[in-house]
Subunit: 368 residues, 2 copies
């Protein structure tokens, strides 16, 4: 098997800031964030509110908080800063990993399987590996050639399944066309499925009252961004655009657990803008540049743009630039809050991968 | 363990109709239905259409078939006859079971676990057992007393897991309050989970491209009723009212596989009628009598009413009558098609339980 294995042992996790001359921590704001970073699983999965219908005095007419923004309001949309939120989360993770190392001598490990030389895949993997290093997670990168047989990839995954220093395994998608992604992903053991794509994880995410071992990273990122921005979810109309198993499906399922009223739109939906333009929150994960124009959005809506679409541009450094699914400039004219691309969902999604890996290591080491 | 086991060996499956005096089958219509009854798994799970977005020439404006019914039309709503559809399906199942018995000497077996003396539960179990007998499925009923320990129920399930003559196990819900339903249901082996409530089944239902071993019966029944009534699903706006794991959740997931645009409404939804009144199809599984009034429905909508709600009525034979979630008389004034309660979804749901049990037996006996 031609596998290039790189074990990238992270430098010691960043130390906490030194006490200053009067015995007070420097950067207290950041280190407050460390303690506050961790959203409990219960809050990420939301309380299991009983479904008690009251048709005679419906919630519908009395409980709906009116939109905060009307046509005559002077809208100053909030730009939701994913980079800053991700940094806060990473600081919290780094702090926990230091404690883990101090008490057990061990740190979490993430294995990444990369097949071929796709430039975008290599970039994504580089970001993930760098993020691991930053928080003190040991990353192991298995690089396989484009033309290797599928069995080599399955074997690489199987070896990581057995390695007790590895707590999370991710296979960078897409795989070369001659491989069956389903089969390769199925080889990842449930306990190390930090992407949360295993059907048992998806089933447990779908069923209120049950707990998946891992929640898919992009779905977690969307909820983090919304909750940290003070956006209420219970009873809100949310349009999710896209239904992929990586993004759209788990986002829809997780939002339902947060008691939002979710409409899932896809490429076969007729008049999707009729639904999105009534939604309090629009989450777009279609992977189509500039799909969502101004007429798709209600005034005052909150927009989370998961799309990261390369657009060719000979004038930019790499020959392309990245843009979201949402026409950003148009949206700014109507929304109350929006995530930019890049710098929105992306960094928080990577932070959630680190968080899932840490959770997995805590389980493996029997830490509460 | 105080378990009363009743093995109800079905009488021989009903024989095909005899040839009449001129050598032609009697009741040809019914026996044509036998051959046509079986919807392939592929058609029940729907084709896996790729999500190709075309934002520049959107499907939205060109492909939407206008509603067939306008305000001035003289609506003659179609009453979808669940009893007749269920009978057709049962005839088909009986025919397959005869063939199975002829070729292997074996028939499918369904085990039902009933705890306590709840009148409604006993009724439901009686219907299921009768339906088994009618098609040639052997049913085994395990009756346990209301006050038995949870472990007795788990043991009953475990024994059925080991019994090779049992291909499906169902535990009649609700269980007494001192029992953990989750724990009891988890004891049912995946291969015999004919209700389809196992999280792995739910995950495989949620993920396009994967196949659950069993699709939950009520969800299958809704699709059967819609497809047999000629209702197109691709791209249609469907409002599902209710999100229980028994009904609402699997219906939403299955409809998404059929490429409908699904909005899932629940007790915390604000202004649910705003969404339902824009839907081409409304499926109500809230369990609230008369929740859905005329103002919740678009003119020409198709309504599938899964609700089966007892309403006290001292004048009726049993002291109550059954009604759906939908105000039937009001709905008749606007809809293009509707299922009645009773006689709509209920009988087809039981037929789907028989179908799942037959599928399980076919798998166990290695039949294609």
């Amino acid at each position: 098997m031609r596998v290039l294995l790189k074990r990238l042992v992270a430098a010691s996790p960043p130390r906490p800031p030194a006490l200053n001359s009067i015995g007070v921590f420097v950067c207290p704001r950041k280190y407050e964030a460390e303690r506050a970073w961790r959203r409990s699983k219960a809050s990420m999965l939301a309380p299991d509110l009983p479904d008690v219908w009251s048709p005679l005095s419906p919630a519908s007419s009395t409980l709906f908080s009116p939109a905060r923004h009307h046509d005559n309001d002077d809208l100053k949309p909030k730009i939701i800063n994913g980079k800053a939120i991700a940094e806060e989360i990473r600081l919290g993770i780094a702090s926990e990993i230091r404690q883990m190392k101090d008490s057990t001598g061990k740190v979490p490990g993430l294995a990444v399987v990369l097949v071929g030389k796709r430039r975008d895949s290599r970039s994504y993997v580089r970001y993930k590996v760098m993020a691991c290093e930053e928080v003190g997670i040991t990353s192991i990168l298995a690089e396989l050639p484009e033309d290797c047989p599928e069995l080599d990839v399955v074997n690489a995954v199987s070896n990581f399944n057995k390695d007790p220093s590895v707590h999370g395994i991710l296979v960078q998608l897409p795989l070369p066309q001659h491989m069956d992604e389903e089969k390769v992903l199925s080889a990842i053991s449930l306990e190390k499925d930090v992407d949360g794509f295993h059907p048992l994880n998806v089933g447990n995410l779908a069923m209120r009252g049950r707990e998946p071992l891992f929640i898919p990273c992009a779905a977690k990122a969307c909820i983090e961004l919304l909750l940290r921005s003070g956006v209420e979810l219970i009873g809100k109309n949310v349009a999710v655009i896209g239904r992929s198993r990586v993004v759209g499906l788990p986002i829809s399922l997780l939002l339902q657990r947060h008691h939002a009223t979710v409409s899932t739109i896809h490429a076969h939906s007729k008049n999707p803008e009729d639904i999105t333009s009534e939604a309090d929150i629009v989450i777009s994960a279609a992977g189509v540049a500039n799909l969502v124009g101004r007429n798709w959005l209600k005034r005052g809506a909150v927009v989370i743009d998961v799309g990261t679409n390369p657009v060719e541009d000979p004038n930019s450094e790499h020959g392309y630039y990245l843009t979201g699914d949402v026409c950003y400039e148009e949206a700014l004219q109507v929304v109350s809050a929006i995530t930019p691309v890049p710098g929105g969902v992306g960094p928080v999604t990577i932070a959630m991968l680190l968080s899932n890996t840490l959770d997995s290591a805590r389980r493996a080491y029997g830490l509460s």
